[in-house]
């Protein structure tokens, strides 16, 4: 135990590599119990080595940081916007409600949320509208001149691009009775924008 001696350079190499390969932050205590268990080295030398490593990385893309449970290397926060692209998170599949909302906006634009609700017979949640806007498939193109001035939604060029359509007229034809029915529903005087 604690019998081998190593040079400062070797100590730096070893501590640096240990922090890099450890699967969680490495404390000085754990460093001494594991990697340095057979090596005779004072706390002061360990601190010196850590200082030297920390200083060395000041000009690199990563930094040595001390967190509650020990030391770890971390990418500079200024690089985060680029590094984010390394990970992709799968958004959940679209619900039936989302697809129906999108279909109504595509075939009956410009259309208000109230009108979509009128045809669907149920409330359209804000999340549905938001997720379609985030995808840049729909956008607000105006406000309807009725009480509450509801937003009018329409599909975007990105929406057409996604489905490789040159224009909305390239959308699959809606069965005639469907179009008629939608128009009837929306023109019915009993239909009111929800306030």
């Amino acid at each position: 135990m604690a019998t081998r001696r190593i040079s400062d350079e070797q100590l730096i190499e070893l501590i640096e590599a240990a922090i890099f390969v450890a699967d969680k932050p490495l404390s000085k205590k754990r460093l001494k119990e594991t990697v340095l268990q057979d090596i005779s080295v004072s706390n002061a030398r360990i601190d010196q080595a850590l200082d030297s490593i920390s200083e060395h990385y000041q000009t690199r893309g990563i930094r040595l940081v001390e967190v509650a449970t020990g030391f770890r290397f971390q990418a500079c926060s200024s690089l985060s916007p680029w590094l984010s692209n390394l990970w992709q998170e799968k958004a959940p599949k679209y619900s039936r409600a989302t697809l129906e909302t999108l279909a109504l906006i595509a075939y009956r634009q410009p259309i208000t949320r109230g009108e979509i609700e009128q045809v669907r017979g149920v409330t359209v949640s804000s999340n549905i509208i938001k997720s379609l806007q985030e995808r840049e498939w729909i956008k607000v193109v105006g406000y309807k001149e009725v009480p509450g001035k509801p937003a009018l939604y329409a599909t975007t060029k990105q929406f057409l691009d996604y489905f490789s359509l040159s224009g909305l007229n390239m959308l699959p034809k809606l069965p005639e009775q469907h179009s008629v029915k939608i128009d009837q529903m929306l023109n019915d005087p009993s239909v009111r924008e929800p306030s």
Binding site: A75, E89, E100, Q109, V141
Partner: protein
């Protein structure tokens, strides 16, 4: 059977902490030890290779008679001990017995083309030995987690993963609309003809154009000659529809002057 120690005395197994290096000559092996030993064999070819090596013999000199005897003795022992014996061990015993009987037949000089009965087995033993060695070689190559440690750094919490949006097919959109319509109530008492989809699209474009311009736009600017007559009609119907829906207004300062369109302003 000779009892010359093997060149490479690798333990066959560990029993109660002691390495079992060689099987005793008389084949007496404590039952649980045999079980452990047999588990170290990867099948009949492996057991045969072991027996051949034990005799310090070359595979090419496969001493079929003594090897068969020993092999059968092991297999019998396994059966006596009611070890679960892989069927392959019995198939090999039968093959060895068959080769043995063929070897005992006198060699007919006129049938010199006849293959040595051991040939196929020798080939298989050689091939197996080759891959047994390859597996051992593979085991000593430095590998991640044992000899190689990869270095990683974390990202700052500010790095959020990029979102991958779900894919949908165009027909899903049509199906979804079909579903809505199937649920929707009918209004039989009205009859209004359907507008062509291109009108709805044009309505969106006009609204978009006006909201981007932030002020009135000249009426003529909405028409493109390239679109021809039908394009002009579509645009005009779209304007009328927007005016009817009170989404836009139409202005003309004096007769015969420019007509302007603007978004209906909030009062």
């Amino acid at each position: 059977m000779n009892d010359v120690p093997q060149q490479q005395k690798l333990p066959l197994a560990f029993l109660n902490g002691e390495a079992v290096v060689d099987k005793p000559e008389d084949l007496y092996i404590p039952p649980d030890a045999l079980e452990v030993i047999l588990e170290t064999f990867e099948g009949p070819l492996d057991l045969l290779l072991y027996l051949i090596k034990r005799h310090k013999l070359d595979i090419l000199q496969l001493p079929i008679l003594s090897i068969t005897e020993q092999y059968v003795a092991y297999v019998e022992l396994m059966k006596d001990l009611q070890l679960e014996l892989a069927g392959e061990y019995l198939v090999m015993a039968a093959l060895l017995a068959q080769i043995k009987s063929r070897m005992l037949l006198p060699v007919h000089e006129e049938l010199e083309e006849e293959e040595d009965p051991r040939a196929e087995l020798v080939r298989r033993l050689q091939e197996y030995e080759q891959f047994k060695q390859a597996a051992e070689n593979l085991d000593v190559i430095p590998r991640v987690g044992r000899d190689i440690f990869t270095a990683h750094a974390l990202v700052d919490e500010s790095a959020e993963p990029e979102t991958l949006f779900p894919d949908i097919a165009l027909k899903e959109l049509l199906l979804a609309l079909g579903d809505v319509m199937a649920r929707a109530k009918t209004f039989e008492h009205h009859h209004i003809s359907a507008e062509a989809l291109s009108t709805r699209e044009r309505m969106s474009h006009i609204l978009q154009h006006l909201s981007e311009h932030n002020g009135p736009c000249v009426f003529n600017a909405f028409f493109t000659i390239d679109e021809g007559r039908s394009g002009v009609v579509v645009t005009f119907i779209a304007m009328l529809e927007l005016i009817k829906e009170q989404l836009i207004t139409c202005l003309q300062v004096e007769p015969d002057s420019q007509i302007y369109l603007s978004l209906q302003l909030q009062e």
